[in-house]
């Protein structure tokens, strides 16, 4: 008599969690923009047996944005998940994995991210600032002012903007713009950049030194401006050899 089919894998089973961990590593290491994501919930898992010792696993994951930029060397396990009050962003991912002789590898992944609704945030936290569009004029001027401020006060490498990661604007009780952005060191010192900023180029990938800045600009009732930038240190590009990637989007 044929053997009974194995019981379906539960979303909290160790095997499902191991697959989700591999999938999360893959998603974070193959993303080049925004922030690292942390696992919030395994929504569903399906195992499609192919041959003995060869299974295809289909995972649906619910992820949450962390405070670590994707270029940060910090392992995602040490990254703080954005709180609800910070206007959380969720990622929904479908991942296809292969489990061959016990070894997991990702074959494909597809993710969509979306911010929590403003109504939800305001319901629990009426004074919390909400996410603003990254091309908002106030956001862009704040980012430029923050980078100029940092470069004018530091004699080290002249920093260039890589991307704006997040921006929030609060209108009451105070008018405040919060921005976060990724930067990269150029081949110029801040002093040399004053002479000819156009000549300042980003360093090649193998010498790149990325960083991250946060800035808070209080516009009213009293003006204030705080900028904090730090460089991650020299980064070696991550190898993809740990994953057998055939297709991803």
């Amino acid at each position: 008599a044929p053997a009974a089919p194995p019981a379906p894998l539960g979303c909290d089973d160790p095997e499902a969690e191991a697959a989700a961990e591999v999938a999360l590593s893959y998603i974070n290491s193959h993303s080049h923009h925004g922030y690292k994501f942390a696992l919030n919930r395994i929504e569903n898992i399906r195992v499609l047996p192919q041959k003995p010792g060869d299974d295809i696993m289909l995972l649906e994951l619910d992820l949450l944005e962390t405070t670590c930029h994707i270029l940060s060397p910090m392992p995602v396990e040490n990254c703080t998940v954005r709180s609800f009050r910070e206007h959380a962003v969720e990622g929904d991912c479908d991942v296809k994995l292969q489990k061959l002789d016990g070894k997991l590898s990702v074959l494909a992944s597809k993710c969509h991210s979306h911010a929590d609704s403003s109504e939800d945030v305001l319901q629990l936290c009426p004074d919390c600032p909400l996410l603003a569009s990254l091309n908002n004029t106030e956001v862009l001027t704040t980012v430029k002012a923050a980078l100029d401020d940092h470069n004018s006060k530091n004699a080290d490498a002249y920093l260039r903007l890589l991307e704006i990661g997040r921006a929030k604007i609060q209108y009451a009780p105070a008018h405040v713009v919060y921005v976060e952005f990724a930067v990269a060191a150029t081949n110029c010192s801040a002093e040399a950049a004053k002479e000819n900023v156009e000549a300042c180029q980003l360093l090649p990938d193998d010498q790149s030194n990325f960083g991250f800045c946060t800035a808070t600009k209080v516009i009213s009732p009293a003006q204030d401006f705080q900028v904090d930038c730090h460089l991650y240190g020299h980064q070696v590009p991550a190898s993809d050899s740990a994953f057998l990637c055939q297709d991803t989007s």
Binding site: G10, C11, D12, N40, R41, I42, I45, V81, A88
Partner: protein, 38 residues
Amino acid sequence: AVAKRAVAKVAQHDKVPRPVGFVPPPPPCPGRIRHFKI
């Protein structure tokens, strides 16, 4: 004349009594929420 037909009685399955303290297993999916649900 109206004849009254016999209606088959629905079989009542004997319910297996659950032992005291029995906690039903959680549904296999979705899994636990690690942080919070949006």
